[in-house]
Subunit: 417 residues, 2 copies
């Protein structure tokens, strides 16, 4: 079964909002064997919406629509759905009850525009909204499926999990499509391609195996895609390709699929019962933010210091002032002293640090914007590495945070640079 | 002029990558009066790509394509462009020189696949890639414009800034479309709508003025859109609408357009020559990360402490252990003590703190997941507010960081809750 995802909203067309819904829905559908063949975005304008519905249902068996089901006047999707399926609105008692409960739990009284959310197109199957007040709708017509959901990401996600995924999992067809992504960091796309060898020859289109290189500031991902007649067959194909890639590029691969580097590092620390502390200057809290995004990180993450000023480096991390005076705050010596300092004060097993020039100003010919020193210290070793992460402030922070986590991973696994 | 944006890449269709390019391009085009009417995403598959090109050029005057121009085998857009415009590839000497320089600057030798990036479709206008090696292409046919660029966001963005924006700015037509977005936080969408009043009546479609409500975990944005015959006329319309909205909901509005709350707070601090420090528990560094995303934040942001463990709250922030024992780490008393502690140790004017239960575990009936106390302290006042931010770990962190920054803004401007 092939699907088209349609997003509705002027905010998307003027670029005010980044569309995260399409990727989420695509990933979830892909997981139950539904291939997304196309994604379309149109504005809050009835004619465009109706045309998009029509074309999508012509081309594909499944159409998933999000956006424009909210309570305010600019939400016109529901009206368009009624027109498209030539139906009108009826009150859904369960949805009305949910609206009332939703507001009662917050100690508030629903407005008329909130209660109107319980009006649904006659003849649809109502999809419950577990996180908000606007229900979703399912229409089945001539063996094709049309689903409309609100565009608020967490409301939509809850509907996808509770309804859409199980619904299509039951209806999946014979061909199995599976993807697996190996995530690398610290190596450029073309060097990684060279390391792996001639992928054209290794993976012919006839074999049902494809390999894609997906670069990003955090590293290049390698996506293996296979088509097979059974799940077993698909898994075997993926495994054999993965082994060949790992044999050639294993040191750069930190994880697979949705796994983030901070989860991998967290798991390594947990398994070895080690604790970590961080001392951040140029990354400004981003390393700690990433680490604490992982549930259970309080088991191994003890504390962090964001030592933005020189004074705070001296006071918080016991960096000798003379080191800063002699070598500058952005130097091997200071990076190492910061890592040692945070490790000692927090009594953790490992300390990691960053000091660099995130820009846009502050660079010099010797120490340009983008220069970052990353320090590491444990009971046996203290060291620092330097990198140049380019001239975009946010990207410098992102790449430096990733490199700091990667340094911890490589030290834990004894992988050299 | 109306445009369609086409993104190419299997990674988008399987939901592996969130498409940020479409929003960026749309925003930039919108700024020079080009309305994006549709966005389409297709996979790395020649037939879909050719069909998408054909339909887009039928429907709109401008077609902007991104993705699939990289060096590896899965990048097939260039071939599709050649086929579509019935042309072949030629070496572009300037692009070849850029590839060589690009690698020389990094102390590396280009591979053959890198040098092949200098091959461009015959007959196109080459768009320089200032950040990478794959050039972009422009074709003009019968008064319509077709542009292809790489999908790597920062390479594409540099091309949009250096070429696409100035190119279309010169060709813009008579009707002016302008948007302005007022950003609010701390109030739900339907309550904000009620506060503002009946927007149907205030803004009729005939007036060329539209108002949209855009909810997100960080707050609801209000987008005013106007169509007018001149820039002056557009600006006047926007100003009059903005004044009406501000008269009804000013306390919730922290900024406009692309402005982030951390920039607004940073500007207020700079102007008043005040300094800030943060003590984060449940937000885990995210507040500091946001603050330090702003260039120049080192002028007012002194340091941050991520006090994840109870011990670190006591050691780093001088929170009396007895407070934690009597009230728990997630309490008004501890939030206030953290804010005072970080302010005192860093000698800043303001200290702000968070302590809460980000989940997924750790909640109790009295202190459920999502409960967050936010503390504030300056020379005159110390206080804490509590919120419930729901049950998604990342969303709790996001919303708590926003609420902490908003608390600083409201205290600085003496706006009550």
């Amino acid at each position: 079964m092939r699907a088209e995802i349609i997003s509705i909203g002027d905010e998307l067309l003027i670029g005010q909002v980044i569309n995260t819904n399409q990727a989420y829905i695509a990933e979830q559908l892909s997981g139950v064997g539904v291939a997304v063949a196309r994604m379309t975005t149109v504005g809050d304008e009835e004619e465009s919406i109706l045309k998009a519905f029509e074309h999508a249902l012509e081309r594909h068996e499944i159409v998933i629509v999000t956006g424009g089901l909210g309570p305010t006047h600019d939400d016109i999707t529901r009206k368009a759905v009624c027109k498209f399926f030539q139906t009108d609105l009826v009150v859904n008692e369960e949805a009305l009850e949910r609206v009332r409960q939703f507001f009662a739990r917050r100690g508030l009284a629903p407005r008329k525009i909130n209660e109107d959310q319980a009006l649904v197109p006659r003849g649809c199957t109502v999809i419950r909204n577990l996180q908000g007040t606007a229900p979703g709708y399912l229409f089945e017509r001539q063996g094709k499926y049309f689903i409309a959901m609100p565009g608020v990401p967490f409301e939509m996600k809850a509907m996808v999990q509770s309804f859409v995924v199980p619904f299509f999992a039951q209806r999946a067809s014979g061909i199995v499509i599976r993807h697996r992504t190996l995530k690398t960091t610290g190596i450029g796309e073309s060097f990684l391609a060279e390391q792996i060898g001639d992928v054209h020859k290794i993976f012919s289109p006839d074999s049902g195996i494809a390999l894609a290189f997906l670069p990003s500031p955090l590293g290049t991902r390698l996506r293996i895609s296979v088509r097979a007649v059974s799940l077993n067959d698909a898994n075997e194909k993926i495994q054999s390709v993965e082994e060949r890639i790992r044999a050639r590029a294993s040191k750069y691969i930190y994880g697979a699929d949705g796994e983030e580097l901070e989860e991998v590092v967290g798991r390594l620390l947990s398994k070895r019962k080690l604790t970590l502390s961080v001392a951040e200057s140029c990354t400004g809290g981003l390393i700690a933010d990433k680490i604490t995004n992982v549930p259970g990180s309080s088991n191994y993450f003890e504390r962090g210091v964001i030592a933005y000023s020189n004074q705070s480096k001296v006071e918080e991390l016991a960096v000798p002032l003379v080191l800063i005076q002699d070598h500058g705050a952005v130097s091997r010596e200071v990076a190492e002293a910061m890592a040692v300092g945070v490790r000692m004060k927090s009594s953790t097993d490992i300390g990691v640090s960053t000091t660099g020039i995130a820009g846009p100003s502050g660079g010099t010919p010797e120490k340009p914007v983008g220069l970052v020193w990353i320090g590491y210290s444990d009971a046996h070793d203290t060291l620092a590495l330097h990198f140049n992460f380019g001239d975009d402030r946010r990207r410098v922070k992102e790449r430096a945070s990733q490199a700091a986590l990667e340094l911890v991973r490589r030290r834990l696994l004894k992988i050299d640079y």
